[in-house]
């Protein structure tokens, strides 16, 4: 059993997935009012994976990797506050943008204050992409009416997380890869639930956790690994694939609860493969993972 828990693949996939499913099950046992907090399962899944992989968090985080767990907690807290007190779309967007800038800057502050280089350009590109993603995920105006379960964004965030995990792995960092994988798996619990018909309407917590953790992971990859910024930038196009599906896929197929996540997932998988292939092409052999 302990061997299984020590397996990096299990730590970043099955453990967060099952933890999130268990939390969802427990919340479903509570009165209906509590169901708005089903999104907490994403946070708990991620935190359990982090504990199994890295142990208890250090009290005073110094290294970027040690800050991720705190960023996850901050993102969940911001989401909870937004869920309870602030329902306005504009305020959600502003709060998430604040979270995105905070998490990216906290990870990369040493490099941000370094002399101006291409790293700064890459950072701006990534931040702009994350901001755009937040706009797409949180803005009511961009909500696709066919996406009745509001599941598209979660599928996109999960596939982007998996692609980031692969990019991180190519950049020789298994810990970033595991964190990204754990985020995808935690989101997977809600996607799976929606897929089988136990609908979870993704609230601010569900969206804030990935939207704020991903910039931190991207900052880690961008600043502290040999990965190239362009494959990461390519991934941000994923947030527009819902529109693509809306235009080119027959409406009857789009409305299918079973087919829609598969279509969105398939389109994003193509992007993810392109990003990873690009990353592989850019990396010097000596800098890549095992």
């Amino acid at each position: 059993m302990s061997d299984l828990l020590m397996n990096p693949g299990v730590q970043s996939s099955l453990i967060p997935l099952f933890s999130a499913l268990v939390v969802m099950g427990l919340i479903r046992c509570l009165p209906m009012g509590a169901h708005q907090f089903l999104g907490l399962s994403v946070l708990v899944g991620f935190l359990v994976a982090s504990y199994v992989t890295f142990g208890l968090p250090v009290l005073v985080p110094v290294a970027s990797g040690q800050k991720i767990v705190y960023i996850a907690i901050i993102s969940g807290s911001l989401g909870l506050v937004a869920q309870i007190f602030l329902r306005s779309g504009r305020f959600l967007l502003l709060t998430s943008l604040f979270g995105i800038i905070l998490s990216f800057s906290w990870i990369g502050w040493k490099k941000i204050f370094a002399p101006v280089s291409m790293d700064h350009f890459g950072a701006l590109l990534i931040l702009a992409g994350c901001g755009m993603a937040a706009y797409k995920v949180l803005s009511v105006r961009h909500r696709n009416v066919v996406d009745t379960n509001k599941n598209d964004d979660l599928v996109v965030l999960a596939i982007v997380s998996i692609a980031i995990a692969l990019n991180a792995f190519m950049g020789a960092s298994a810990s970033i890869a595991q964190n990204s994988g754990a985020l995808a798996a935690s989101l997977g619990a809600i996607i799976l639930s929606n897929w089988v018909g136990l609908t979870v309407q993704p609230g601010p917590v569900t969206r804030f956790v990935p939207l704020i953790i991903l910039p931190a992971l991207l900052a880690q990859i961008h600043y502290f690994t040999k990965s190239n910024m362009w494959p990461l930038a390519l991934l941000l196009l994923a947030f527009f694939t819902g529109d693509l599906a809306h235009r080119f896929v027959p409406i009857s197929v789009q409305k299918s609860r079973f087919m829609r996540p598969i279509i969105i997932g398939a389109i994003n998988t193509i992007l993810a493969i392109a990003s990873v292939a690009m990353s592989w092409a850019f990396l010097p052999v000596a800098a890549s993972g095992y």
Binding site: F54, G55, V62, A63, F224, A286
Partner: protein, 197 residues
């Protein structure tokens, strides 16, 4: 003419003052012989409970303020470039440089500054000092040995050599990834030859 003499006298006084100070001090400064690469900073760690993996850092620098009269009062300061890690396998080195382990882009240097020496034998001492690694500073103690001090037989340059051995726990420095499969205890092996300045 008088003005020139006054300036000369002042300069002479300053020079004498510095000369005197130098003579009065028992400290000699030795600098690690980086040009000749007469140093080794290595480590050993358990690999999945099977073999012991050996690695080293190829770039370091440092000084030893050696107290000729009371060697126990000497001070050591060493800086290691974390990115110079070498385990004889490029891909493993890339992994060790990543945020999983040494995170060399975020923490470029590993430093050691001694704070106390306690004599344990004729040429042996326990050296306590602050090791800063991955942004965390912890006091560690190394067993040190003065190997030799004197003139280099070829260059005749005053030279000294020391060795240091010790163990640390990488988790003390916030490095938990892969533990306990990849060992927590790390053995340090440092050998240096330094030239008197």
């Amino acid at each position: 003419m008088k003005k020139t003499s006054l300036v000369s006298a002042t300069l002479l006084s300053i020079a004498m003052l510095f000369g005197f100070t130098s003579l009065a001090s028992a400290n000699s400064t030795y600098v690690i012989d980086t040009a000749g690469v007469h140093y080794y900073a290595g480590f050993q760690i358990s690999h999945l409970g099977f073999s012991t993996m050996h690695g080293r850092f190829d770039t370091l620098s440092g000084t030893i303020k050696y107290d000729d009269a009371e060697p126990i009062n000497s001070q050591v300061s060493i800086t290691i470039k974390a990115s110079s890690i070498n385990t004889n396998m490029a891909k493993r080195d890339a992994h060790l440089k990543s945020p999983d382990f040494f995170n060399v882009e975020e923490f470029a240097d590993i430093t050691f500054v001694s704070t106390k020496l306690v004599k344990t034998g004729e040429k042996k001492a326990k050296m306590t000092g602050n090791l800063t690694m991955m942004g965390v500073t912890r006091a560690i103690t190394l067993d040190t040995t003065l190997i030799n001090i004197g003139a280099n037989p070829f260059s005749k340059a005053p030279t000294a050599a020391w060795s240091a051995r010790g163990k640390i726990k990488r988790s003390d420095f916030g490095s938990n990834y892969g533990a306990p499969a990849i060992g927590n205890e790390v053995t340090l092996i440092i050998d240096i030859e330094a030239l008197k300045q």
